[in-house]
Assembly symmetry: C2
Homo-oligomer: 467 residues x 2
């Protein structure tokens, strides 16, 4: 019997690897290159590769893998597209990475019910491609072309969460392989239910620590009749945040409202060959009827002027809109153009919107005082912002400076009634902050749930509640 | 040591009662009348009164009560306004009813963040009264003037969930006294977070079986600039449902869309002295700007005509709207006017909206075939509908007929991918259906969570997962 939080014993691991290789043939891979890509993609966390990667095709196959691992107490790491930031897919004690990329079918589209049933490996862009002719789309957009399984697991949100909510609001039901290999569905396809504990929401954001998601029923939204987007410069971050607060308070159903600080705008200009004025800026988008969108845009314009914003640049043509949002989505990559050769450390915090301006301004001051390069983009309608910190990983001193800076960022957010992560998740890197964010009884409750559902601690061990 | 699912031993109970009486004085009540009102209000489930009712004033007092009960293994039944339908507040093994009615303060209103912090005993009408001057309101409206703690615990929704979501979408955080008396908060006040398991959603809908809620942070919504409401008759329930589906599919942001079948309209006429044509009818309401509401109403009108609906009767004056919705909200009471002297058995199911017409029509046929009186009202935008079954409780045969009918209703809903309850909850009456609604592994997971958080099974025992 292996201990918890330790490598499985060698014989057990070998048995599992042999058995998976027999069963899955070339869909069970131990090639070091493939193992490496399953440990580390966009994160700066040091890679910890698994011992084997398996590419199942069905819930039954996932169940078989999990039962095998459970019998031998070998860790399981569910894997989507590997776009997470906080070390979610690392395998600190080795084990089996279950890569769901080949489980990527759309199983059903229920137009009358505005939902669809999909497999977890499909990415959001591929899903929207398949939905295109239906008149519906799946709105959640974290920027990266993440897998839906991963988006469920990190409780992802992104640019248009301010209108469409986060993954927790857009998942109707999940099929899950539990740590004992049993299969459960969390809910029926009805739009709402009060039939017992909300297991759907328990697995949304569980980061693969409670089971492997093998099917997802998603809510869909109608493609809006009209969309208008635009950018609006502001004299200061505070002015942009205040305009955002009033927009939200006024009940304007803005679909996206994104802040880029002056550094991020500079990065956009460099990376996307734009010529925006290098001042804080809001990227906004409205969805609705032709008339409604016009009305919303006018109202937003009035609010912006109140805070010294403008002039607007509206993009009603789809290609202009795409260019605009592509620039915004390339924030991660564009930041690199400010200091080529560095690693980008992407992180996020979220505070009540009333504290946002203060939190961003203090963070900018800290960036300047520390001499770091760290542009800021924010889903400001939700009080959520990202830092794309540029770090020369070859300089131990700079790495240390970055660590200390990130620590202060989280502390600042927590001091303002915020959370250590609005949408990226806990993974390995933010476990230490849960103890500061939540009372001890809250962490005890999370641990009790993990222990109850995964008593052997084989399901993505070393994440969320492992410290 | 008492066994699980049994009355506490007499000495333990006496110790707890004596201790509570000493500590709480006249806020600890053993008067049989008061005990009776804590077992049975709007439900038809046979009453099972607690042994004592306590009226705490603070989280600390609740914690003290729970610690006392935990030490002596005495059941605890959290109590709000007692408006639940499925036997949620019964005390099958006696114990302590914690009535939160005196914990009814609004602790904070954060206008900039569109949230407020309240105690659980405040009712939704009292809350909206206190919010009136702020420009905000709390939209969830289950009809009854329920307590917010109760609404959280049953995952309530109601008439405008189609636009504003259910309680799960409108709770930001909870303070909870756990079954061991420890106090936890489930989340920070930030609008979104990915910092660990979603304990907020786990306690929303847990029906008091995992802990006692002592503080709630709610999302608020802006009072719409313009509201317009109206009623529209349809030639059949199917036509009304089809018009609803198209309304939702078109992305019309309808705030309420409620079906009343011909029997329910008759009941409205009798009870509320209206003179509506006794045919299936949709009650609709739109929220938005003056212009937006007008546009929505016109679009809805076009859709209704397509399905043979009309003529409309629009109510733009607040007093007309109030009269209209008061009639709708009095569905429970108005049903009584169809068969005075009977008991009203209110129940609910929810199906994917595509199956709604079929489910309602089959249910109506069943009502006719059985000779029962059972008007139907439905939150049709969500696929959720209610039956207010009139039952002569003195006739054993009729009670039996009602039971069999309710059983068929749930079976029908489950056969259509629906749920046994959309918003009323499980309580005692619907436990048996969870086994049909969910796979065994789902129920095992719910039980494992209950066992992990409440190992002594003292927290509202005999509910949700007790069978």
């Amino acid at each position: 019997m292996t201990a918890l939080n330790a490598h499985p014993d060698k014989a057990s691991l070998e048995t599992v690897i042999r058995s998976l290789s027999e069963q899955f043939g070339n869909r069970a891979v131990t090639n070091p290159g493939v193992l490496g890509t399953h440990a580390n993609t966009l994160t700066w966390v040091a890679p910890q590769p698994p011992d084997i990667v398996v590419f199942p095709h069905s819930t039954e196959e996932v169940s078989a893998i999990v039962k095998l691992c459970a019998a031998h107490r070998v860790p399981i790491i569910p894997f989507g597209a590997g776009t997470s930031f906080e070390g979610h897919v690392n395998a600190p004690w080795g084990g089996v990475s279950i890569d769901t990329r080949e489980m990527n079918r759309v199983l059903a589209i229920h137009s009358e019910d505005l939902d669809c049933v999909i497999e977890p490996g499909i990415t959001r862009k591929a899903l929207n491609e398949q939905l295109r002719d239906t008149g519906f789309f799946f709105p959640i957009d974290p920027g990266a072309d993440a897998s839906l399984g991963g988006m469920v697991s990190t409780r992802a949100s992104g640019t248009n969460a301010v209108r469409y909510g986060t993954m927790k609001d857009n998942v109707l039901s999940l099929k899950v392989v539990l740590p004992n290999g049993e299969v459960m569905t969390t809910a029926r396809r009805a739009k709402k239910s009060s039939a017992g504990y909300d297991l759907t929401r328990l697995f949304v954001g569980a980061e693969g620590t409670l089971g492997v998601i093998t099917e997802i029923t998603l809510r869909l939204s109608g493609i809006p009749e009209a969309i208008s987007a635009g950018i609006c410069p502001f004299p200061s971050v505070k002015a942009a945040c205040d305009a955002t607060i009033l927009t939200i308070q006024s009940g304007l159903p803005v679909a996206r409202i994104e802040l880029a600080d002056e550094w991020q705008v500079k990065a956009f200009n460099l990376h996307s060959k734009l010529s925006l004025p290098e001042t804080p800026m809001l990227f906004v988008e409205f969805h609705g009827t032709e008339q409604g969108v016009k009305e919303q845009a006018e109202r937003f314009g009035d609010i912006a002027v109140e805070y010294g914003g403008g002039p607007f640049e509206w993009a009603t043509k789809p290609e202009d809109r795409t260019r605009l949002w592509q620039a915004r989505h390339d924030a991660y990559w564009s930041a690199l153009s400010l200091r080529p050769g560095c690693k980008v450390i992407a992180t996020d915090v979220c505070v009540p919107i009333s504290r946002l301006a203060e939190c961003v301004v203090e963070t900018q001051k800290d960036v300047q005082a520390t001499g770091l390069t760290a542009p800021i983009v924010g889903h400001v309608g939700d009080g959520n912002f990202h830092l794309t910190l540029l770090c020369d990983m070859d300089s131990a001193q700079e790495v240390e400076t970055c660590r200390a800076f990130l620590h202060r960022l989280v502390e600042r957010s927590l001091a303002m009634e915020g959370t250590c992560t609005g949408e990226h998740g806990v993974g390995q890197e933010k476990m230490k902050y849960l103890l500061k964010e939540h009372p001890a009884a809250t962490l005890d409750t999370m641990r009790a749930i993990k222990q109850a559902i995964d008593p052997q601690n084989i399901m993505n061990p070393g994440k969320i509640v492992a410290v």
